[in-house]
Amino acid sequence: MSGRAYVFEAVAMALVLIVIVRQVRLRRLRPKWGIIWLVSALLVAPLAFVPGLLDWLAEQLGVDYPPALLMVFGLGFFALLTLQITIELTQLQERTRVLAEEAALLRQQLVERSGGDEVARDAEADPGATTGP
């Protein structure tokens, strides 16, 4: 591999690190996911910087075409990641649902305590609005 390729890889790597750390610091990314991204990046890094490592690994595992090994690892990683995300999405959807139910019940209790029947009108005007007592 040429020196230019190394420079390119190093810059790309640094950019990925900076972006991930920045997202975590800005709280746009939970540390949990930041760590997953960082660790996976660090695991891939030696393959980029150590010439022949991928070929050696492929040989050890009996893979004839080394880039195929990279593909398998890459696809496997993203499949797992997607699975984890859909699991968390399911959990989130269920929680949102329960929160909506709770919100509706609480609003009804508030309305009844204040003796009004404004709930119906308000909901029609703006389904997302929070109703004051």
């Binding site: 649902r97 139910e101 509706a104 609003r107 009804q108 709930v119 909901a123 029609e124 389904p127």
Partner: protein, 245 residues
Amino acid sequence: MVRPTATLAIIPAYNEAAAIGDTISELVEVRPDVDLVVIDDGSADATARIAAQAGARVIVLPFNLGIGGALRTGFRWAVEQGYQRAFQFDADGQHDPLEIAALLEPLEAGADLVVGSRFLDGDAGYDVSRVRRTAMGALRVTMRVLSKQSFTDTSSGFRAFSRPMLEFFAANYPAEYMESVEALFVATTEGFDVVEVPVQMRMRSAGQPSNRRMRSAYHFVRLYLMLLASAKRRRTPVVPMGDTA
């Protein structure tokens, strides 16, 4: 807290402005002894206002949860308010208030879940398409095999609930479309006493039936997955339950 003998009608409603006024008025007229709660499932029309004007208490969900979520909200309300029994009633006028007495009766004998069946006495007065009939038939057979109990109408939404059933469903009612079948299955496998009674139903007075083909097919597959999955991880053996009449 409510009177110890009070019965609650739980009426999920989604964009039923055209029908719900008449449904509520008739229900109030025929059964003035029953408390009503309409769960407005994020309707975009005047459902909530019309239901309230017709004399129902209306709980408004902030966005559409689907009928399962609306029902669960109703069950929670019933449990929190201390109702000993409740029944589910359609907003679109498909159920007859005169049949409520027959639906509630088995609760006195200790039933936990009473399902009003269109087919127990033959399907007089109710017409469903052949595809739908076949799908419902397949579900019925699967249910019979898995729950060891036979039902004639697994998707009926005319149902009555005992206090223990309400408490269970308040926490566990399935949320996805075609939840009625799933709920029936869960109730039997959890050991609740489930019975069917024959009822007559009317044609829908307004609103669109919610059975678009692709969607139905998808949910049919989903239901099967659910049934098979829960059959595998069933912990407690199914005890033979009360007579299905």
